[in-house]
Subunit: 295 residues, 2 copies
């Protein structure tokens, strides 16, 4: 596997152009194998920042503008300045160009509040070869249902909880996946404390009931899925009705099929929920993944 | 102000002694002004790690063993290996020794899950001159009450939420303080979604009603306060009854006085809660802070 590529973004947010000189793109290639981050960066001391992960297949970045729009939305939600769309889009392209050609690249964009006391945000882009998820997309994952602890209306009543922002304070997601492993599963479907389906730690949840595909609506404080939106296009083309709604946890039990969808892993069928086997429609899942890959 | 000191801890957890050589203390002084952290460290990409902050006054570290015990407890809660007590205690002493003598030093210990894929935790200690909080300890802060979104029993029912661990995924605390600033205040008292008092973003809450001092009990999913414990010693010496209990939010309204206590800032009186003025007992607060300083 090739070593990862790192681009440091020196001009990550709008309004930082004062020090700009000719030939300064606002980013530069750096040594991904060397330390590049201060231990005083609020990104690490407070998990204070936002990120996005973009899939690049055959040199082509998927949904870059949708990811950049969500990046800006997350930044706004945590009171960070607006990311400079052009700088980040060009930095992503530069990271892809600097990496040897491979089947799939996972490109990550990170914006932090910067070194404490400076008021200058830190930004970087990494590109690394993505694991091969081909088998997982066929074989699927076992999931458990876990309470995320917040009521479904917390995003509206308590905006300081930052629900729905894609932030670096991600440790609960990792802890939930460790809890799944302890219970003999690989994935988690989070629910609200009052019994609504939310999302998985790093993916959106799609539920099929007959000819109907639904996903939890963004007002519940979940990260609005870029891949989920494209999956809905696929299902409508296939003749399904699609809907973003409030789903009671009980709807998981009635589901004919459940998928977890995300940018790099794409669509992965859930084969069992809390130990109860679920049907997997293999041909439909394969067509969905072909669509998501743009093939 | 002197530049901060950085100690990189190469042997942060027990069981890493295989590569040990004579004269290797498990840590070394490093350049705090240079980048020392990989952008692939899970401490920054997932806020996946734990920390402690220790006050050093006149060269003497306060409550180091209590902080190290809590550090170990946080690490255990997030499934990190056990921090090497001796290495960290010596690293703290080395950081203090390497810093020019100042009135107060804030010493921070950080342990992360390390660079993704390596399974080797990252550790470091920083020492930097603490801001002068003398005026704040007299003048106090205005606080607002904010819902932290979790029920009081979430720590028991949902351990994957990591409540009570002092982790790097701290962004909600920063967001709550920004919400306070928007409402003309400097601090926040968090409550559970079902109406119990919890803690402040970076301090414990002490409430006085007559001759009674209470603080929320740790089972509610708050960080058990090292400074709160020492403050209780003070209050018992002063003839108060002290108790760690479940406190209804309504008890905030009945309080004769409220303090926020933490390692570096020590005891800060709350002068107003949600805009309602609160009495400040200036002589008692001054004695409390003298006690916490060990003077």
């Amino acid at each position: 596997m090739s070593p990862p590529v790192l681009i440091l973004v020196s001009r990550p947010v709008v309004g930082m152009s004062d020090g700009r000189t000719d030939g300064d793109d606002g980013f530069r290639l750096a040594d991904a194998g060397a330390p590049q981050l201060s231990v005083f960066d609020l990104g690490v001391t407070r998990g204070d920042g936002v990120f996005e992960t973009v899939l690049v297949e055959g040199g082509r970045a998927t949904d870059v503008d949708a990811h950049l729009a969500r990046f800006a939305r997350s930044a706004h939600q945590v009171d960070l300045p607006e990311p400079d769309h052009t700088v980040w889009r060009d930095a992503v392209a530069a990271a892809v160009a600097a990496h040897p050609p491979v089947g799939s690249l996972s490109v990550k964009l990170v914006l932090t509040r910067g070194i404490e006391g400076t008021g200058v945000p830190t930004g970087w882009v990494t590109a690394r070869e993505a694991p091969d998820f081909a088998a997982l997309r066929v074989e699927g994952v076992r999931a458990i249902v876990l309470d995320r602890g917040y009521r479904h209306d917390a995003p509206a009543t308590s905006p300081w909880l930052l629900l729905g922002a894609k932030t670096l304070s991600y440790q609960v997601n990792a802890a939930a996946l460790r809890e799944a492993a302890r219970r003999g599963a690989e994935e988690v479907v989070f629910t609200s404390s009052d019994g609504f389906v939310l999302e998985a730690p790093t993916s959106s949840v799609l539920i099929r009931e007959g000819g109907h595909i639904s996903t939890p609506s963004a007002e519940l404080g979940i990260v609005p899925g870029t891949t989920q939106r494209r999956a809905f296009e696929f299902f409508r083309d296939e003749g399904f009705e699609t809907e973003a709604v409030r789903l009671r946890t009980s709807s998981l039990l009635r589901a004919d099929a459940i998928w977890l969808v995300s940018s790099v892993r794409q669509a992965v069928p859930v084969t069992a929920l809390d130990g109860e086997p679920l049907t997997v429609d293999a041909p439909l899942t394969a067509r969905l993944n072909r669509f998501l890959s743009g093939r």
